[in-house]
């Protein structure tokens, strides 16, 4: 198991890792507060000690001594002392100085300077005190080095306590995140398979743990089982209905054909027999369409899908329907690209979808005298558009016409079984295509947008 997972961005958005980071931040704040509290206390105490030292040193000098005596005293002390640790300095009223450093007066403050390069001052800075004596000014300063050392110690303590705990938390968080990410990924994969129509897909828990994720996994499995049972039942019912209804329908067809054969052409009886045959055929067509929609909605297999050319399909269907359109004085125009526009799907189903849309336009858009077919391709996908200039469909009815057997009030008397667009909707859904009915101002504009071929 590599420490750096490949799916970083996903992992960073996972709940365990977020919690780990939150804990690290909280822990860091508490740590910083307590450690800096301790540091400030100790720092104050150290500075107090230094100040006491300085005061003690200062009080060792005789206030009333002469400048010469003080100079000798300071020189003696200064010689024995490293100026990096402590500075003694006397500036006599006569301007002569003694000590292990130099002093400059700047805005009423005394600033220490090193005497020479062999006696460097401490870089940590000094605490200093200046006292006016009878014959001059005495300065005693002590290095803040102990305070700096203290700070270094505390930073080390902070690093030693903070880094290991932070690293441990992140590593632990990552580990947990990856573990649950793998499980979440498997649950997602299972859901994806189910959504794609494979209802036999199941999530299998690889550990014995009983937690929220395993419960979600079980839920997914229960859902898939129910769905599978329902689809199996639907298929069985469809097959049973198909068989039980088709046999009598077949017999009716047979008997009517027998009857027609015995009647003389052109007689009243023969006309009745022909009408009965037409009605039987209509029943068969409704039945067939319903069954087909049920089968497609029940998840027809998409394994046989291929890359098919929308332009070729459009040309074929325009070619097929052109004479029929011409018969009712409709101009069937088109705007098709020269090259192919591929979509992933089933040729027969997509052809049938276009045929149904065209038949719908021929039946209901007759008054417009124009039907236009176009194919184009954009970032959104491959689009097939059929528009007419007929009466169109009111906005509030557009969803309903996609439902089975729904027909607009004014269309009750026109032929068609009210299933054409429902079948188009089912085919669109199976192809992940977006079916949209819009106003063509005037007329209906049906567009079918397929996802881009990968």
């Amino acid at each position: 198991m590599s420490i750096i997972p490949q799916n970083w961005p996903r992992l960073l958005r996972s709940t365990p890792l977020r919690l780990a980071f939150l804990l690290i931040i909280l822990f860091t704040i508490i740590n910083l507060l307590t450690v800096s509290g301790a540091y400030i206390t100790l720092k104050n105490r150290t500075e107090g000690d230094i100040r006491e030292n300085i005061t003690a040193e200062l009080s060792g000098f005789d206030v009333a001594a002469t400048a010469g005596a003080l100079r000798t005293l300071v020189d003696a002390k200064a010689r024995a002392t490293d100026p990096a640790a402590r500075v003694y300095l006397f500036v006599g009223d006569d301007g002569r100085t003694a000590g292990n450093a130099l002093a400059m007066r700047e805005n009423n403050r005394v600033i220490l300077k090193e005497l020479n390069e062999e006696l460097p001052l401490s870089e940590a800075g000094y605490l200093q005190e200046t006292r006016r004596l009878s014959s001059g000014v005495l300065v005693v300063a002590e290095s803040l080095e102990p305070v700096v050392a203290l700070r270094r110690t505390f930073v080390t303590i902070l690093a030693l306590t903070f880094l290991p705990s932070a690293l441990t938390s992140v590593a632990l968080g990552l580990w947990i995140a990856r573990r649950s990410a793998r499980r979440v990924a498997r649950i997602e994969a299972t859901l994806g398979q189910i959504a794609a129509g494979d209802l036999t897909a199941r999530y299998s828990e690889q550990t014995n743990r009983q937690d929220d994720l395993s419960r979600i996994g079980e839920g997914v499995n229960r859902m898939a089982e129910k769905q599978e049972a329902a689809v199996t039942a639907l298929r069985q019912v469809s097959a049973d209905i198909a068989h039980d209804l088709r046999t009598p329908l077949q017999r009716i067809a047979v008997l009517l054909s027998d009857l027609s054969g015995q009647l003389e052409d052109g007689t009243e009886q023969a006309k009745i027999a022909d009408r009965a045959t037409d009605e039987a055929n209509r029943a068969v067509s409704v039945f067939q369409s319903l069954l087909q929609i049920a089968q497609i909605e029940g998840g027809a297999p998409t394994a046989d899908f291929q890359n098919i050319d929308l332009v070729t399909i459009a040309r074929e269907m325009i070619d097929l329907y052109e004479p029929s359109a011409d018969d009712v004085e409709i101009a069937l125009g088109h705007a098709l690209p020269d090259g192919p526009v591929f979509v992933h799907g089933d040729r027969t189903m997509v052809s049938q979808a276009l045929a149904n849309i065209l038949e719908n336009a021929l039946r209901h858009g007759k008054s417009g005298k124009v039907i236009h077919v176009s194919v184009d391709e954009s970032e959104a996908g491959a689009r097939l558009v059929v528009s007419d200039n007929g009466p169109g469909i009111p906005a509030e009815e557009r969803d309903k016409v996609l439902q089975r057997l729904y027909r607009l009030e004014q269309s009750r008397t026109t032929p068609g079984n009210g299933l054409g667009l429902s079948l188009v909707a089912a085919i669109a859904q199976l192809h992940d295509a977006d079916l949209a009915l819009a106003d063509n101002n005037p007329g209906l504009r049906v567009s079918l947008t397929f996802p881009k071929v990968a």
């Binding site: 046999t247 077949q250 047979v254 067509s285 074929e316 097929l320 004479p323 027969t348 189903m349």
Partner: protein, 224 residues
């Protein structure tokens, strides 16, 4: 032709058998898939007509068994299932054609005739097809009747060619859709009739005798 017919519904079976016999075929009928399989293994037939849903052995398995026994007699499935996958399943199992119930007898008869005469037709290499005084030159892609040139659109040419290649045999609406347009669904509009009437207005209307004949209840054909 000698036909084997497997169908468990007696009414349909009687009707189909009567029709096929009237057309001069000799038909052996079985209601059981197993019996039919034994019979087909031992007797030579021209075409097999097989219902897909049988009480004992289903039609798909029957054809699969025959095909694995190297019996390649053309077979047409009759089925109550019209799903796309069912059609593909049938063809994959070794079926040659597929007819959904309920079907008209004319449809079955035309398809059986097409299957029975499939081999000789594939051998034709003529570049000129003739019917009466009509001639179609497949290389030059021209059509003449009584020496008169007839201008046809590409699709009209294909439709006429399809009928001429099957001279004397009825072609149903669905057979034309499949053969000329490669379409495997049933349009609700009379598209085929419209195309035929276009073709007729060019090929038949200006002349005395109609070449493209309508066969009532079945389809169309061109006689020699």
């Amino acid at each position: 032709m000698k036909l084997l017919f497997v169908e468990d519904d007696q009414t349909t079976a009687d009707y189909v058998m009567r029709g096929l016999s009237e057309e001069g075929h000799s038909v052996d009928h079985f209601a059981s898939g197993k019996e039919a399989l034994t019979q087909a293994m031992n007797t030579a037939y021209d075409v097999l007509i097989i219902d897909r849903m049988l009480p004992d052995l289903d039609g798909l398995s029957l054809i699969k068994s025959l095909r694995s026994a190297k019996i390649s007699t053309p077979a047409i499935f009759l089925t109550a299932m019209s799903g796309l996958e069912d059609r593909i399943d049938g063809l994959r199992a070794g079926g040659d054609d597929y007819l959904v119930k309920p079907f008209a007898f004319g449809e079955l008869s035309a398809r059986v005739a097409a299957l029975g005469r499939r081999l000789p037709m594939a051998a034709t290499v003529d570049t000129v097809l003739k019917a009466g005084d009509l001639e179609m030159d497949l290389v030059a892609r021209t059509v003449t009747r009584s020496g008169q040139n007839i201008d046809l659109l590409p699709r009209e040419f294909s439709l006429l060619e399809h009928l001429l290649r099957r001279k004397g045999r009825v072609q149903t609406r669905t057979m034309l859709l499949e053969g000329v347009w490669n379409i495997h669904f049933d349009p609700q509009t009379n598209v085929v009739e419209t195309h035929i009437s276009r073709l007729r207005s060019k090929v038949d209307k200006p002349f005395n005798r109609d070449l493209i004949l309508t066969v009532r209840g079945s389809g169309y054909k061109i006689d020699g």
